[in-house]
């Protein structure tokens, strides 16, 4: 590695600069290494893309057997699922015949309805009534195409550790806990008692409260016509509750789902978690050693609506008749019931609620029958059709809330900054 002579050094510098440019683009391509197998259209194979936890393993293996003649194949794609899907759509190659679309990504894909098959043309009228109309609306494009059928919906509950609550001398029965935590104010008071007795927190981070309160409302930061409503009463209320939770010392100030979070949940330092039904799967995965010590009850301040994904058929799929059969099979009440017991995704199909599995106790939750908690939540759950720019417009609020919690920023100043930044982000995005 002797670099002598001006010329060598110059070329070394040029090479180095080139490497810089290349590694930048390599980075840009980093998310694009999708390994799409069989293209949907031209071969006899049906490929289906899902992410880990999208549905029960048993459902997928049963479907593979059921549709063996179509050579149905599941690809479980972790990490950045949306990006891999975007890549194959843009590259027009390796597009799966059937693909899941996460609830939070649906507003984005809904903008590009032409990439998907209108499921209404595939004779699904007989089952549409089984799905909540507001959930179907999330997958309906501006020109009325239905591009996805819902796999699950995201009613929330309050998950809690019975052992920690008992230790703090608090009730552990779901009905009693619900009675003591029916509003956010009650929940904060409950949290103060809990903290005084055990030193535990009721929220992982300040922005966690914000997200959950926003999930309880029927309006977002971006309105139905793309207008800015980040300074509305709804948003201010979510903000004020978050700041209050922090100021009352109820927030653990950890990064959600980080190793630290898992340790805190495992050790009982965060004994309560508000999350959608599918969050049960995350908890089971993160802290398996706490099995049997959990219970779930209604969300303080009423149910929130977070997540819930779809199955879609990309426009390039030739064998749509078989593809829709696969989707119908996967969303069949029996299979949705299996998915609920295996990964916790709450069934989108109302008929699933009659399945025997939903009336069985869950050992992780100390034998509690969990489905009725979410079933009740669905009844009064707020619904809204989210803007494609919602997550971008709401990011400044979480950023500023974290500034309040970690750097002692004045909440009033933080609010002003968040509103300004959000307004600007929305304007730039549109």
């Amino acid at each position: 590695m002797k670099l002598t002579g001006k010329r060598t050094r110059l070329s070394a510098a040029i090479a180095a600069v080139t490497v810089a440019a290349l590694s930048l683009t390599a980075c840009a391509g980093g998310g694009q290494s999708a390994s799409g197998t069989a293209a949907g259209g031209d071969s006899g194979t049906l490929s289906a893309w899902v992410w880990p936890g999208a549905m029960g393993e048993d459902v997928m293996s049963a479907a593979t057997t059921q549709f063996a003649s179509d050579k149905l194949e599941f690809n479980t794609i972790g990490d950045n699922f949306k990006q891999k899907l975007v890549t194959v759509f843009t590259g027009k190659s390796g597009v799966p015949s059937i693909t899941g679309v996460k609830g939070e990504d649906m507003p984005y894909f809904r903008q590009q309805g032409e990439l998907f098959t209108d499921l209404k043309t595939l004779g699904v009228d007989d089952i549409l009534a089984q799905y909540p109309s507001w959930k179907l609306a999330e997958a309906t494009t501006a020109d009325g195409k239905l591009i996805g059928l819902p796999m699950d919906i995201g009613p929330t509950g309050l998950f809690y550790r019975t052992d920690v609550l008992a230790q703090a001398g608090l009730p552990t029965d779901p009905a009693e806990v619900a009675a003591q935590t029916s509003t956010w104010e009650d929940y904060f008071a409950f949290g103060e008692k809990l903290k005084a007795a055990t030193g535990a927190f009721i929220s992982v981070s300040i922005d966690d409260v914000f997200t959950k309160v926003m999930g309880q409302s029927t309006s977002g930061i971006v309105g139905p016509n793309g207008e800015f409503q980040g300074d509305s009463e709804t948003v201010k209320k979510a903000w004020d509750l978050s700041v209050e939770a922090y100021q009352r010392g109820l927030v653990a100030n950890l990064v959600d789902e980080s190793p630290d979070w898992a340790s805190a949940v495992s050790s009982g330092k965060i004994p309560t978690v508000i999350g959608a039904a599918w969050h049960a799967g995350d908890i089971k995965g993160a802290v398996p050693d706490t099995s049997g010590k959990w219970a779930v009850t209604t969300t303080p301040g009423g149910p929130a609506n977070i997540g819930g994904s779809f199955l879609t058929i990309p426009a390039g799929t030739a064998n749509t008749a078989e593809a829709i059969k696969v989707i119908r099979y996967l969303l069949d009440p029996k299979n949705q019931a299996i998915t609920y017991t295996q990964v916790g995704n709450f069934p989108s199909n109302a008929q699933t609620l009659n399945e025997p599995q939903l009336k069985e106790g869950d050992a992780f939750f100390g034998g509690q029958v969990t489905a009725p908690v979410f079933e009740k939540a669905v009844e009064s759950m707020p619904t809204k059709v989210t803007s494609p720019y919602e997550s971008e417009a709401s990011a400044p609020y979480t950023t500023e809330l974290i500034n309040v919690a970690t750097q002692g920023k004045d909440p009033q100043q933080a609010w002003t900054d968040a509103v300004a930044a959000s307004k600007q982000a929305l304007a730039a995005a549109q």
Binding site: A12, V19, T25, C27, A28, G29, Y108, D207
Partner: protein, 329 residues
């Protein structure tokens, strides 16, 4: 580097052939046409054009467009760049990147130099040590970042447990901006020190033994030899390492991304508390891949490129090795 090497090959080969035949350059044709040689070197250029040149040029085109990744791109001229120059978050990302760069590169280079000097002295099992120091460089950054996330966890991390054990307070490593920057810098130092030490070592071994022998005869001790012989003769290597470290350091991404990642869908890849871990490349990634602003993302990428070019030139101009030709004359 591979670029210069590859493009130098045909000339070098031709020169050698013409020397052997003792005639003018193109007479090597006697041994057959030239195309097999071009064929032999073509895989690199084909791959480079497909995976290097084309995306680079395309990203430049994209930086003048507004594109959400799926729809039709719209030409917006310099709008993305105008937005970029008025984007406070981009300036924050630049500041973060330079803080992390300074916190990691300076200790890393000093450590690497010391390590290399130690490896260069005749110690036992030196190959084992070389391998051990190099291993972090070929370990998956993501795996290391996950590990560091556990080590630097606020309540349950080993780092804080050790601090507590010696009577110090816990440090909020991953929940304050500066804590995040220090943690990212520690991770980068861990990852690159061994790599740079090996390069320094190679440079040191190219220095002739006779110079050291002469110095020993003159009565120079180990430290004096290091200061007066090793360092000056190592200047070209130091320059190379400084330039490469500038380029990699200013493009830090994975470390910050994994350490500050959150499953939260509301604020992904925002760099953690106070956005302290939001580096320039992470900001580019967030804008393009989370918020589907691929045109703006491309503009950020080219902004990063310009900054890296400027600072590479600065670090090249001011590195100690630049004037070594004059110094050793």
């Amino acid at each position: 580097m591979s670029l210069t090497k590859a493009s130098a090959t045909p000339t070098a080969l031709g020169a050698r052939l013409s020397r052997r035949t003792g005639r003018g350059a193109p007479r090597s044709v006697r041994r057959g046409p030239a195309w097999p040689m071009y064929l032999a070197i073509s895989p690199f250029f084909i791959l480079f054009c497909v995976f290097g040149l084309y995306p680079t040029v395309y990203s430049l085109v994209l930086s003048f467009q507004k594109w959400n990744g799926l729809g039709t791109p719209v030409w917006v001229g310099f709008q993305n760049f105008i937005d970029l120059f008025t984007d406070e978050t981009f300036y924050l990302a630049i500041r973060n990147t330079f803080i992390i760069f300074a916190l990691s590169t300076i200790p890393m280079l000093i450590l690497a130099l010391v390590l290399a000097a130690m490896l260069n002295s005749s110690i036992r099992y030196s190959t084992l040590f070389r391998i051990a120091y190099f291993v972090p460089n070929i370990t998956s950054v993501v795996a290391m970042a996950v590990l560091f996330g556990s080590i630097f966890g606020q309540n349950f991390g080993i780092a804080n447990q050790l601090l507590n054990a010696v009577g110090l307070d816990s440090v909020p490593w991953l929940t304050t901006p500066f804590g995040i920057q220090v943690t990212v810098a520690v991770l980068m130092t861990y990852q690159w020190t061994g790599y740079n030490a090996i390069i320094f070592l190679a440079g040191m071994q190219a220095i002739g033994e006779d110079i050291y022998e002469a110095a020993s005869l003159d009565g120079a001790g180990a430290f004096r030899q290091f200061w007066s012989i090793t360092l000056p003769l190592l200047r070209p290597t130091i320059m190379f390492v400084v330039v490469v470290s500038t380029i990699t350091g200013l493009q830090s991404f994975t470390e910050a991304q994994v350490l500050t990642s959150s499953s939260s869908t509301t604020n992904p890849n925002s760099g953690g508390a106070g956005q302290g871990g939001l580096t320039m490349v992470l900001y580019f990634y967030q804008q393009a891949f989370n918020y589907n602003k691929f045109g703006y993302g491309a503009a950020i990428a080219w902004g990063v490129f310009l900054i890296v070019v400027v600072f590479t030139i600065i670090s090249w101009r001011f590195s100690p090795g630049r004037n070594d030709g004059k110094a050793t004359r």
